[in-house]
């Protein structure tokens, strides 16, 4: 493919490498470092004049440092006369503080979905998937969960918090049936994992035989790993929008779904001017 360059920031170099491998390209040469006063310094190592540039940087780890690095790389490419610069941000930071809605951006946004990859994983790895229940750990995720349940043709359930009195602790109430079934919790991100661990306990006490958790972004900060190790999950599955090697060493229940092909295909389609909406319901091979 002519006129395309892919650069990876330092937040998730592994994903950048996987994406460029799938596209059959070499990752662009870039040097990112910090001066001793902790200021970020970026130098692009090859010509980007007239090229279609894609920069892969995920909002994980030291978020402010990675964000600054991304901004500086974009700025450097623009000053070096790149024809178009696209940021590929698998996990978008600060998404819980404002809504990451299309209307908040002045530039085109393509929000891809991990759903097709999740469906594929469920069918390939959970034997009893035809008789499972998809569960949302809070009321806000109901839409996401019903969409998956419809495509698998299975039931869904959700857990919602009920507050009896003002100062009383929230009670978690299960709406739906999980007795003698495999329960699959689905959510978009897991940070400290308080919610999903409580949800897992609830599901087991309601009669679920096994509990899986499938989360798009596995941030796992603070006490998350300890909580998962002490909870009753069969497996906790996340995508590789955020690097997980370190966390997998401390927790054997974590498994990873590779979504690099979705991002690579999106990049290929955007570069060739093709439609990206095919990816909303299909996983490229």
């Amino acid at each position: 493919m002519p006129n395309i360059k892919i650069f990876s920031g330092s937040s998730h170099p592994d994903l950048g490498q996987k994406i460029s491998d799938r596209l059959g390209l070499e990752l662009g040469k870039v040097v990112t470092k910090k001066f001793s006063n902790q200021e970020t310094c970026v130098e692009i190592g090859e010509s980007v004049r007239g090229e279609d540039v894609y920069i892969v940087q995920s909002g994980c780890g030291e978020i402010n440092d990675n964000l600054m690095e991304l901004l500086i790389m974009i700025n450097a490419c623009k000053i070096a006369s790149a024809s178009r610069v696209t940021a590929v941000i698998p996990c978008f930071p600060y998404a819980r503080q404002d809504k990451k809605d299309k209307g908040f951006f002045d530039i085109p946004v393509d929000n891809l979905y991990a759903e097709p990859a999740v469906l594929k994983w469920i069918k390939e790895n959970i034997n009893e998937w035809k008789n499972c229940t998809i569960v949302s750990p809070d009321a806000g995720g109901a839409k996401r969960v019903t969409s998956i349940a419809d495509r698998l043709n299975v039931d869904f359930a959700l857990i919602h918090k009920e507050r009896k009195k003002a100062n009383e602790v929230d009670r978690m109430v299960l709406v739906g049936d999980v007795k003698d079934r495999v329960a699959i919790l689905v959510d978009d991100m897991a940070d400290t994992c308080g919610t999903i661990c409580h949800a897992a306990d609830k599901l087991v006490s309601a009669g679920a035989t096994k509990v899986y958790a499938i989360l798009t972004h596995g941030i796992f900060s603070g006490p998350a790993i300890t909580r998962i190790n002490n909870a009753c999950f069969e497996a906790v599955v996340v995508t590789n929008t955020i690097p997980q090697e370190d966390k997998m060493k401390h927790c054997s229940k974590i498994q990873v779904i590779d979504i690099s092909m979705i991002l690579a295909e999106a990049i290929r389609r955007t570069h060739n001017g093709e439609s990206v909406s095919y990816l909303f319901s299909h996983v490229p091979l």
């Binding site: 190592g45 964000l67 901004l71 500086i72």
Partner: protein, 371 residues
């Protein structure tokens, strides 16, 4: 009719106690309370800012010092500025004594002019005015679309020299490299002392590296036929055969020399930023060899990164004097040679004058053209 002027509030956007020291000193001098806000990092390292009081229609000053974690400090400032803008503050004025990324203000080979990027980000976040101190390059003011007040710390450092350096009349002001000569000369003028300039560094400093691009690429035409004949099939052909460009000769760095006489005197090196101290330590060695019996370093911004305290402690430098624009308590504990000059007075005065719409000329009365 007496219309009450709407008040002003002063906030600090720093999250650590050490960084909010300067803000506390400034608000004490102004006689106001620091605005109630909570700034912290969540467990997933996202910055969170909560402003706990109403700011509608008010003029807000955000004081932000830049500690070790530069990018987090920038994010804190941006988030707070935007929060205040969307809460209908009338004016948002950033008080950023040490402006970060000011060394990355020139175009380097396929680099980014981060300073310009930062200026655009601050404007977008809602700042309408900036007060800073001793910008690394005065031209940075041109990156901004709103007013920038570049205050000077030199009156405080000059006062320190006159009061704390015994026998200062036997001192000589030294510029560590030719680029610092203008600043050194303005100090020397005001103290009526001599000037010395050091030249020829062992290694060239990163941030002053010039744009290394050549356009068009220098390719020697070795076929022996300059002019119409193109070397066939080779990808490395000169774009315009016939025009032979002279190849740039690499600059040779002479050994370090001192222009000026420092024998039997106190040497005072002045600079705006003291960060990596290897250059300063090397300069101090040379000055000692040439006969200086005491060596002081005066700098506005004491970043003192990496193992600067240890290197200073082991070197020939007698004292390092910096202002409190950049928090450096940790470095001070490791090295008793580091002394601090408080500049909160001029920052507080600038805030007061801007709010009251008074002239700032008084704050610049003792400044020469080259400072």
């Amino acid at each position: 009719m007496n219309v009450a002027k709407s008040g002003y509030r002063v906030f600090s956007a720093n999250s650590t106690a050490a960084s909010t020291e300067l803000a506390k000193k400034i608000t004490e001098r102004l006689g106001v309370d620091l605005g109630k806000s909570v700034v912290y990092q969540e467990s997933n390292r996202e910055t969170r800012v909560d402003v706990k009081e109403s700011v509608r229609g008010q003029t807000i000053f955000i004081i932000q010092t830049v500690p070790r974690d530069v990018n987090t400090a920038i994010m804190e400032l941006l988030v707070m500025a935007y929060a205040l803008k969307t809460s209908c503050a009338k004016n948002i004025i950033g008080v950023i004594p040490y402006f970060p990324y000011s060394k990355q203000c020139k175009m380097r080979k396929r680099g980014s002019i981060v300073c310009k990027l930062l200026a655009s980000m601050l404007a977008k976040a809602g700042l309408t005015h900036i007060i800073t101190m001793d910008l690394h390059q005065k031209e940075i003011q041109g990156f901004f679309s709103f007013p920038v007040d570049n205050l000077r710390a030199s009156p405080f450092l000059l006062q320190y020299i006159q009061e704390e350096v015994p026998d200062y009349r036997n001192a000589i002001i030294v510029a560590k490299s030719p680029s610092a000569a203008k600043r050194a000369q303005s100090y020397a003028e005001r103290l009526r002392l001599g000037l010395a300039v050091m030249h020829g560094e062992a290694q060239c400093s990163e941030s002053d590296m010039a744009d290394g691009r050549h356009s068009p690429p220098c390719v020697r035409n070795t076929s022996g036929h300059p002019g119409l004949e193109l070397p066939s099939g080779s990808k490395q052909q000169a774009p315009f055969p016939g025009i032979e460009l002279p190849i740039m000769m690499a600059k040779e760095k002479p050994p370090i020399t001192v222009v000026g006489d420092v024998g039997g005197r106190i040497a005072i090196i002045v600079d705006d930023i003291i960060d990596d101290v290897e250059d300063f330590v090397a300069a101090a060695e040379i000055l000692k060899e040439r006969g200086a019996y005491k060596i002081y370093i005066m700098a506005t911004h004491g970043l003192l990164s990496a193992d600067a305290p240890r290197l200073i402690e082991e070197s020939a430098i007698d004292e390092v004097v910096v202002t409190n624009t950049v928090p450096h308590e940790v470095q001070k504990l490791q090295c008793p040679k580091i002394k601090t000059v408080d500049v909160s007075m001029i920052l507080a005065e600038a805030i007061r004058r801007i709010h009251n719409g008074e002239s700032m000329a008084y704050l610049f009365r003792n400044i020469t053209v080259d400072d």
